[in-house]
Amino acid sequence: MPTLTIDNRRIEVPEGTKVIEAAEALGIMIPRFCYHRALGSVGACRVCAVKIVDGTRKGVQMSCMLDVEEGMVVSTDDPEAVAMRRHVIEWLMLHHPHDCPVCDEGGHCLLQDMTVSGGHGLRRYLGNKRTHLDQYLGPRIQHEMNRCIQCYRCVRYYREFSGYRDLGVTGIGNRVYFGREREGTLENPFSGNLIDICPTGVFTDKPARYFGRRWDLQRGPSVCIHCSLGCSVTVGARYREVARVEARYAKAVNGHFICDRGRWGFPYTNEASRPRAARVDGEATTVGEACAAARNRLLHVAETAGSEAVACLGSERAGLETLKAVAGICRANGWADPLFWLERRARENVAAAVSLLGDDLVLSLRELEAADCVLVFGADPLGEAPMAALALRQARRQGAPVFVFDPRPVELPLDFHHVPLAIEDLPECIRSLVGAAGDRETARGADPTVRSFTDQLAEPSVPPPPEAVAALRTSRRPAVVCGTDVTDAAAIGLAADFAALMKAQGRRAGLFYLMPGANGFGAALAGTEAASLEELLPRIEGGEIRALVAVEADPLGLYPDRGRIEAAMRKLDLLVVLDYLDTDSAAAADVFLPSTTVFETGGTWINQEGRIQIVRGAHRGGIPVSQTGGGGHPPRVFMEEVPGGQAAASGQTLTRLSPAEVKGASEWVRLPPDTDKQSGTRAVLPDPSALRFAPERTALSGAAGDEAMLTVIAVDRTFGTEVLSSRSPWLSAEETAPTVWMHPEEAGRVPLSDGDLLEIDAGGGSLVLPVKIVENMARRTLVIPRHRDAAWQRLGATRLRIERDCIRKAQPVGENAPVKESPPR
């Protein structure tokens, strides 16, 4: 660890640290444009000049390119270095337009800061400014090439870091141009980071343009709730409207970046259709009235049909406060066990994952990047948790081979081995890989689950791919990534066993699960005795359950058997819905209560690695000024009420409609004492032993081989399926029209060609979708996106097996737009 002196202060830093980083550790921010912590040093902009007073290379040097040395003496305020830095700023301003007053970067522009702090105020250069034409880059990113200072961060991020190839640098000399081959939307689902990473205003957030300076916004730290990773974001709001979301640095989770789903998924919070008022039997009323009505009616059901006749359903998108409130209200009133899941498989899968994710195995997203071999089981990272795909890319860039065992046509921004096996074969495949992981004997001394696992090893029926075997043999830091969406508890259990086994062999093995929703982990913990709606449905259908309270949950819109759930809802005497979305269930509610979003009241979320993240609201909320409109802002008359401001956090509202006395929602969340509430990013694994869920490790062996059967899976896509972000108008263009994916061999058997219509008779009715034939997927499998236009709710389940003769080619009939059901009431 060399010790060096910077501006007369000594600091010891690890070998290989750059001078610019050592200075930063001392709190000295040496100017930089091309250097970025995530992208590293390239020495292009030359603005980080310092004077090396003592060291191997003396004189003016670039601090981003220079490794620290023992005894090095650095001066950042040496006149020569200052003059050089000032000159660089002058150079960069030669062609930069003086459009700061209308530039959306103004106020948080690195170039602006440097120009001011460097003291460059007078133009000496007498030549003209070089100008460029801008490109249309899609609905989300505005391009203003004249502002470019050629730091190359954009292409380096876009191509090297994130692995997409449609942005580049053309031209030479002072005419280099950063853009696409031709106008068009950027293909990179992580393209929004260009906005954050560009030190000036070349790439700005298009939807947020001209809305307000950064200092005008009510800004606050928040977490992204569009998938289970829980990336850190900063939200900025103004005029009761969320204006933009930016990536917030989180060392252990997302690093510097977020995905576009997370950046532009927020419009649900501003929607004009967002229900702001309480309703009883379709009539708007006050929240107080509606709470009273709900309470009375619930009491009435409990009195007439027994307290067990009331059920309460939460969901994995709600915060922990809400989920705990659901569990608490059920317990306090003696209602049926709380429900957090629609399907039993989802409940079991998440419970299995949560109960197996021990402190010793769990990997953070950052740690996943450091793996030297990654095995992905039953997961489509880009679709289910986009930033995980970016983490896999970083692992790959460091040399780790990546293997994906999944039936879907998985795509990732990296080169990887895809084994498109049938989902039923996954457990057997994981089992077969264990042999490849090396010496089984040494693992025998390991813990009992691992031992029993290795004992079970028979001849695997699914031979492991030889590349994976070879990679595993030499891997020191293998990582197992496992999905919980299309998999089953057996595969989830085996994935954990596999990681544990490799750990027992003395490797630094780790486990990384993907989970549904932003708070699937929290749901599993909050509802240790919970059931799923699927399991409860017979009791609704049988008339035992007479009332349902749905909290930030939409059984009508999301239960995979639309016909059945509609019929069941019709049987209820009472449906109470608490939500901030205008869901089908909200429309059908007898009593509706508006609630608030994460941006308004914050909450606690536990991400898929068990990290508790507590965030506060960033603004008060209410109906955006742009919607109340009519020049009413600022208000001419003083009002205490904020328009649309009656909504409250659903956990709080729940306590108001509970017939029995319940504690305040916030008290239900008991966090480990060392949770750091300020940063909200303290890694704490809640005690999973509470779950005690031990999944069966048996597979439906040979099931996939049954020629007469097909497996249908309804899946998540990067854009268009996640409940909240699929409401974003800026992302809708990126949704691909829903199709059913099938392997050419399967298509050939029907026979079908690309674009033909396929009719599927499934558990919940029949649906018709155009076919997309793809090579890189499993045979005997149909993959359907859970897209609102895909009528996937007629499948009956999100993963099911059907007879081969349940599918046939359909004829296009007049208008073949898929039918979208309307709410029953």
């Binding site: 190839r165 449609d166 942005l167 580049g168 640098v169 053309t170 031209g171 030479i172 141009y177 853009g179 696409r180 081959e181 031709r182």
Partner: protein
């Protein structure tokens, strides 16, 4: 559309390369030879042949002097404007050419025969002033010599057209 034989030839060369990308300049040059310039279509074809994205091709195409992303005449005349040629009458040579061809630097004659461009030192300072015609050098230039070269080019264009149409 690329003729099948050229495509096949390029595909065969690319197949034998350890890294297709190393042939990027060669492939661009071959396509340029065929199309006259590296058209958008050619960029797309190069990208497809080399398994690169179009902008990755364009990044290279727009870097190099001898790849033309815009249409050029059948004969591209590059006049050296670097030090020695400039001292030895580049400006006069340029003006002479411009007058003779009735185009300015950067222009192409209406008949599509000539494009006039400046170029950096071409390595013929011992025969200054110099110019290139389709990358072939002509040195020790005088107005008379230039006229003769232009006439010769016109003549060979005419006879080539006649043989191809006849």
């Amino acid at each position: 559309m690329l003729p099948a034989d050229l495509r096949e030839k390029l595909e065969r060369t690319i197949e034998t390369a350890d890294h297709p990308r190393e042939l990027a300049v060669d492939v661009m040059m071959a396509l340029q030879e065929h199309y006259g310039h590296l058209s958008d279509e050619a960029v797309a074809e190069a990208a497809q042949l080399l398994d690169m994205s179009e902008v990755e091709i364009d990044e290279l195409a727009t870097f190099y002097t001898f790849i033309y992303r815009e249409p050029v005449g059948r004969y591209v005349i590059h006049v050296c404007d670097s030090l020695i040629c400039w001292m030895d009458g580049y400006e006069k040579l340029r003006d002479h050419l411009a007058r003779k061809l009735n185009i300015a630097m950067g222009g192409t004659t209406d008949d599509g025969l000539f494009t006039l461009l400046p170029v950096c030192c071409v390595g013929y300072c011992d025969r200054s002033p110099a110019m290139l015609v389709n990358r072939r050098v002509h040195g020790n230039l005088t107005p008379e010599k230039v006229d003769a070269i232009l006439d010769g080019l016109r003549e060979s264009a005419r006879s080539a057209d006649e043989t191809s149409s006849g």
